[in-house]
Structures are given as structure tokens and as C-alpha cells.
Amino acid sequence: MSSKQKAVNADLAREFGLSAEEYDRVLAIMGRTPSLTELGVFSVMWSEHCSYKSSRKWLRTLPTTAPWVIHGPGENAGVVDIGQGLAAIFKMESHNHPSFIEPYQGAATGVGGILRDVFTMGARPVANLNALRFGSPETPRTRQIVDGVVRGIGGYGNCVGVPTVGGEVNFHPAYDGNPLVNAMTVGVARQDKIFLSAAAGIGNPVVYVGSKTGRDGIHGATMSSAEFDENALAKRPTVQVGDPFVEKLLIEACLELMATDAIVAIQDMGAAGLTSSSVEMAGKGGVGIDLDLDAVPQREPNMTAYEMMLSESQERMLIVIKPERTEVARAIFEKWELDFAVIGHLTDTGNIVVRHKGQVEAEIPLDPLAEQAPIYDRPTAPLPAPEPVGDIHDPLGLEQTLIRLVGCPDVASRAWIWNQYDSTVGGQTVRRPGGADAAIVKVEDTSIGLALTTDCTPRYCRANPKKGGAQAVAEAWRNITATGARPLAVTDNLNFGNPEKPEIMAQFVGAIEGIGEACRALDFPIVSGNVSLYNETRNPDGTTSAILPTPALGGLGVLDDVTKNVGLGMPENGTLILVGDTKGHLGQSLWLREILGRETGDSPDVDLAAERRNGDFVREQIAAGVVKACHDVSDGGILIAAAEMVMATGNGCTLEPPQSGMRPEAFWFGEDQARYLVAVEGDGKAFLAAAEKAGVPARVAAAIGGDCLVLPSGARVSAARMNVAHEAFFPALMDR
């Protein structure tokens, strides 16, 4: 490592990502010039990625509690009560920067990292989801990134044997130089068997398990806290390499150990590896920690203390163990052929002490390292008002528009992607990708079903961050509701540009306000999450381009009786009813972008009272057993929602004419919120009467039957014809 020879000073600190003020603070805490290893520890712990220094002030405003929340943010993942003594443990996390530099490994290790966050708490992972944003399909590198990311997610998830059951994909030129890979894992544990990370018990051994430590991923946390320049691809050596086979063994070995009574505290080594796991465990427990790096299992010879502390080698965990159980634990890890090493112990000094080859390489007081970590109240600039929507006309006619929209990149079938992810392993997948608005996974040996979704509409967030943030929450809540499940909680993955730019900070603050408002109104707290900032690319002319603000939300709901779930496929007969008010809002609609080529206008209003009223009504009707299928109305409006229901099963319907007094394209393609298409038996009169009684707007949208979507003009668009357009996009892009 060449920097070993470098003198530790403000210049090196800047190279490590610390500002001059931050370095001064380091000097004040240490009372001397830090060693290289110490500087490394400060730089990663105070990186944006680990310290949330730009976002923390705003994250504190989010609602995080509810009677069913067992652990909110602050642990490795959020924990909620799902009944029958069980808990769901879940979180979503980004791996954006590594996935641009090295798509396969970046995405694969993103999956590995989020899995560890969940099983470290004692949960067996039962489902993976992923929210992906790629650049324009026309940009040549997009294809390569899609290919690598999808292979990476599949390569890891398929091997560890956790089904990948859902997610979302968008394409937009704003992600050309900075794709987003947000991975979510959901696990299930017994409520009395949840493991936390706060270390305790002076003298207790600190055990390292899993893979050996190599030189991969050094300073990954710092890399992901900076924007990309033209040399980004030269950072490939900072990307970690995953081994899903070892992860699978690690899951089984940890769960086997957790079934015994040996663990005091446990945490995975994620970003900033051994540094963050040891510092956070000791810090949370209010104890000191001594590490002996000579005992760390090493993959390469002659690694320095600096390299070992900063390595982000994958598939490693740190455990504080009851001393008398050390040999029981060792036997379990030997059975699974994993490294197991006692590398230190807890102390009462309040310091982290790192020893290597007889030298003390670092000695840092833990309290100031955590408590004096920088927090910034970054300035915001007023957001520009959304552009006027502009002239609205219909250049194609309803039928052509329909075909165009079902085949456009943001609506086209994702089967090409899903079909590379094992969605059935575990034998509990009730609704596979595309089968319902949220994936449904049964909890083995119970009647419980989990409803899982990820949602965000970035174009709404750019036009109006506050409405966009609220809409993302509302859509996640709605997607869970549409399956019949009760929404419980959300994990957030907040992807934004450079927070030092006031206009980006304003996007962040606006989105948080919208998310907070919606979560409060819908009793849908945030229980875990991740912030990814500096998602920008430097252009050759020196300017930088930010991604669209993308607060991706991962929602979790529960069905006490999983057999009561409904999917989105059109049944053979009955009546299709539109629930919710249609005003014909075309601003920022998919129709406007795909048909008129403009991303203009304000985002749709999110009326949270209506959202709640309509959703609660739909959920009650599903529970009552009168609903045969349900689909929320989102991208592309009513007509696309109906088309998706028809394409899912091949069963058709005959649409009623649009509401009078509204432009047809506004009625069919407007993206007003809080709406559902609900298929019920018979003529739907009982459903309409119940809706009226509940004060919920509802009207007949179509008579169900046949194998075509029949437009009010009488034009018959067959499910087969729509499916040809719907299925064409991905193979045409990827397999050419």
C-alpha cells in the first residue's frame, strides 16, 4: 500500500474524504497526529455512507414507531410483529456506485450485504426484492449494465436459495452514468429470538466468522460517498467480490448458532468492514474493544493493519460470545467449513485498540468518534415550480396509444428479468413476480402471508419532491392493500445527488417531508433504511449531472390468513369496478412522456385521507371474499391497469365509456392517485352500494368476459396482441 509511506496530514485526510474542519476535529479528539490506521477509521466512520452526516437531521423527522414495531431504525434492520409470536425483519440498501463500476459484483454483493443485515438479527431470509434504475435504453452502456446487474442479483440470490420475488425497474437518461441498485431482504424470526448488536460483558471474546479478509473493497464506503468522475472505472479494485456459497453456509451456521444460547451480540461486516462492526458494537454497548489483527483469518500475506481494518471483503460477521460457549460455536462453524477466530475481547477502557505484530496500530476513544461525528444542516434552495403541462392532444388514437404504452420501457413485461431469478425456492411463494401488486410469501408452517413491494416514481419526485415522496409511500401502501394484506411498515432507500448543492438538498428535504406526512397518515412507519447521496456523474465539460431524486420504498404487509390474498389477473367473468376519484391528471404522466415526448406539469396530488379511505374499503372487501382480482391504477392510468389485468390471464373485458366532461386521454391515461380496479362477481351492484355507504367513489369500468380488451369505440384488442407488444422490449434490447 503506497499510502503507508505517506505522512498523515490534512492533505492525506482530504484524499480519504475528510474536510479540513473534520480533520481538525480528529486532531482535537486524538490530541496528536493520528496513525494511518486511525485516520482510516475516522474517514470511514465519518463518511456520508456510515455517518449520515448530511441526512441525519432530516431522518429524525420520520415516524418510526407503531404498536407493532419491535425495532425501528438503529439496528441492522427493522423488526415488526406479524403475529403468532413471529417477527418480520427487513431492510433495503443501495449498492449504486459499485454497480456502475462493476455491474455483476456490485449487484451481487449488494444482495449479499442486505441478506447479512437481516440474518444477523436471527431471521431466516425468506424473500429478496430489488429496485433498479437504469439509463436510457438508447445509451450503449445501459445494456451492459442491465445484463451485469441482473446476472449478479440472480447469481447471488439463486445460489443462497432465497427467492427473489419482486421489485421494480425504470429507465431514464438521468441514470446513464449512475444506475441505482437497491436490494431488499425480508426474513422471519421468532420474537423471542432476535439478536442485537450492542456488545456487553467486559472480557467477553470477540469472534470473527466467515470468509477470510483480503484487500478487496478497501475504502468502499468512502468511494460511495463521492460523485463519479471520468476515472470512475479505474476504481474497480474498490469493488468487493461476492461468494454466495460461503454466504449460504454462513446463514446456516449463524442460524444454527443462534438456536443455542451462545451469542451476546452479533453484527455483519458490511461497509467499512471490521472498523464499523467493531466500533458500532462496542459503541452501542458502551464498552471498549481490543482487537488482535494477527488472529484475523487472512487471504493474502503481508496485509497491514490499515488494510485489514478497511477491507470490505464479503461474507464476514463479528460476534461477541459467551466465553463458556466458544467451543460449541467453533464446532458449528467447523461443521460448515467456515473460518472461526477469536480476534479480541471487550474492555472497560471505552477505547478501540487495534494491535498488529506487537504494535498498537490504533487507539481511539469510541464516544467522541461517535458523538463528535459531523452533522451538517446543509442549505437548501427554493425548488423551481413545475413547468406547465402545455398543449394536450391525442396524436395516435386510443388503440395505437394502448399498444405503444404496454410496450414502452417503463411498462413492458419484466419477465426477461424475473425469469433469471429463482422465485420459487423455499416452496412458499404464493404470488410470483407479476402475479399480484405485491409479492406474497407464506411463512412456513403458519397461516401467515407477507405482502412485499418496492415503489417510487422518480419523475414525480423531480417535478415535486414532496408529492413524489408521499406518492411513493402511498403506492407501496396501495400495492400491499390490493392483495388484501394489511400494510405494516416500510424501509426507505433514499437515492439523491450531491447534498452540498442546495437544490439537491431541497429535493431531499422535500421528499422526506412528503414521506413523513404519508407514513403518518397511513400508520405506515419507517423501520429501517439507507441513504445514498452523491449519485452524480461529472461530465467532460466539468459540470455534474444528478440522478432523478429516487426515494425507493420497500413496503411490508401481512395477511393473517394467506389464503385470502388476491392477484391482479382478470377473472373469466364478473364486473370490473374503478374505485377512487378520477380527475384526469396528466402532468408527469407516462402518457405525456411516451406519446407527447414531454416530462412537464406537476405531479399528481396525493390525498392521504382519500388514500386511506379507499384502501381500507378495498381491503375490507377482499377480506369479505367478494373480490376476485385487484390492481392499483398507477403508471399509464386506467387503460394500462386494465390491460395489465387482461394480459396476466388472457381474460378480456368491455370498457364503459369515459366519464363525461373529461378529455378521453385524461380519463384513460391520467395518473390520479388512490385508485384501484377491482374485479367482482356478478353485476357489482352490491359492491357499489357498499362503496357508497363507505363514502368511497366507485363506478363500473367494464364488463368482464372474452379474450379482448374491448374499447368504447368497439375496437377489440386481443390479449395476445397486447402481449406481443408487452413482451418485446427486453428481448429486443438485451438479446439482439
Binding site: 440472480g154 433469471q420 425456492v425 423455499g426
Partner: protein, 233 residues
């Protein structure tokens, strides 16, 4: 029926298989560890799906040399019944208990989707609940399921009626060149084969994942019911 499921490091469909076996027998199967050097008394050994030893070498190649495989060979020699699904099928070909090999899927991508299988021989312990020519739906999930064998092996398999299942269209049409119905490009659309005594069956798709209407159907259940009928004496 006393069944045992072998778990190698990296096996990941043992629980799916246990659920399917329990659904037809009413009790949980035994779980066997790859380092075991003796087998309990069993009617059926199942090698389930997964990525044994990470499948970093050829799929199933490492597992074929693990300690328990010596016992499983002896079990086979004594006329024991063995079902190998997905990685289990790959392991059976690597051990030589079944002929042929499984190559990378023709499209070079992992495939996870439903497929349809046509029953080619309904007079085996694995298929007797079906009729020859029956078609059933089943999920598949693999990267290396493209069955190949040399011309002589193929001739033997066909001559001895040892092709158990072929990939087909839902109406039973078999067309090996059609990637929609034969998704991994298998030779002659072969999805599952039998040993000479019909007591060992290897197949790529996962009937064990379709034994419950809640998960989308029970199309895979007859395979397990067949085994119960054949092996419970």
C-alpha cells in the same frame, strides 16, 4: 415410505422437497448430511436442488465425491430408489449413476419459469400415477439444465424406454428446437431420465415446488404419490 434427503453444503431446496414428501407421506423425511458414512434404513434417497459446494467446478462434480455418495452408490447397487432433482440430477450424472451430462442452458442465462413436461414412461415408481402422454406443469430454476448424451447413449435410453419426461408445449407437442417449450435446449427435449432398473430418476424441473394449490397448483404431486404407491409395501 421412509425417505431421506441429502444435504450438501450449498444445497438449498431440501426444505421444498421435505414439504412435498410430507404432503404425501404425512411425516417429515430424514435429513442426511454429506459427511455421513452410513445410511439409515430407507425406501427412497432424494438428492435435492441447490448449488452443492457452490458449483464452482462443473455442477455436481464436487458433491459426487463427497463421503455420503459411497453409501448412495451401494444403496443403488442394492436396488434402492433414488430421485435427483436439478442439482441432484447433475450429481447423479457426475457419479455415473445416470448417463449423459447437463450443460449450460442454450441461452446462456439462468432460467426460472414454468415449463410443461410430457410423461414418456408411466410404468416407473416415479410416474405410475400418470398415463403415458400426460402433460403437467412444473417450475424450473437452473443455469445448467441442457441435457446432452452421445448418440449411443441416446439410442440406449430410447430403446430401453428410459426417458421419463420430455419438455413439451401445454398441448403435449414436443419440439426440441422450440425454445418456448424446451427452454434450456436439451437434446431431444429430455427433461428426466431413468436408470436401467427404473429405480433411479433424475430430472431438472422442480415438481416439489408445485404440490399445493396455494402456490399455484398440485401438478407436481403425482410424482410423490407414485413413489408412495410403489414403495409402501
Amino acid at each position: 415410505m421412509k425417505a431421506g434427503i441429502v444435504v450438501f453444503p450449498g444445497t438449498n431446496r431440501e426444505r421444498d422437497m421435505a414439504i412435498a414428501l410430507k404432503a404425501v407421506t404425512g411425516h417429515a423425511p430424514k435429513i442426511l448430511w454429506h459427511r455421513d458414512t452410513e445410511l439409515p434404513e430407507l425406501d427412497l434417497v432424494v438428492l435435492p436442488g441447490g448449488f452443492s459446494y457452490g458449483d464452482y467446478l462443473r455442477c455436481g462434480a464436487m458433491a459426487a465425491h463427497s463421503p455420503i455418495m459411497r453409501e448412495i452408490r451401494a444403496f443403488a447397487e442394492k436396488g434402492g430408489h433414488i430421485l435427483g432433482v436439478c442439482n441432484g440430477f447433475q450429481i447423479l450424472t457426475e457419479t455415473g449413476l445416470l448417463p449423459g451430462a447437463l450443460l449450460r442452458n442454450a441461452g446462456l442465462r439462468f432460467l426460472s419459469q414454468d415449463c410443461h413436461l410430457r410423461v414418456e414412461n408411466a410404468e416407473t415408481p416415479f410416474t405410475l400415477r400418470w398415463k403415458k402422454g400426460d402433460v403437467f406443469r412444473t417450475p424450473l430454476a437452473h443455469g445448467d439444465g441442457n441435457y446432452v448424451a452421445d448418440a449411443e447413449t441416446l439410442k440406449t435410453l430410447q430403446g430401453e424406454n428410459r426417458v421419463a419426461f420430455r419438455y413439451s408445449a401445454p398441448n403435449g407437442t414436443v419440439d426440441a428446437a422450440d425454445r418456448d417449450s424446451n427452454p434450456n435446449g436439451s437434446l431431444e427435449a429430455i427433461a428426466g431420465i431413468l436408470s436401467a432398473n427404473s429405480r433411479i430418476c433424475g430430472m431438472m424441473p422442480h415438481p416439489e415446488d408445485l404440490v399445493d394449490p396455494l402456490m399455484g397448483g398440485e401438478d407436481g404431486k403425482p410424482l410423490f404419490e407414485s413413489l408412495v404407491e410403489a414403495l409402501v409395501r
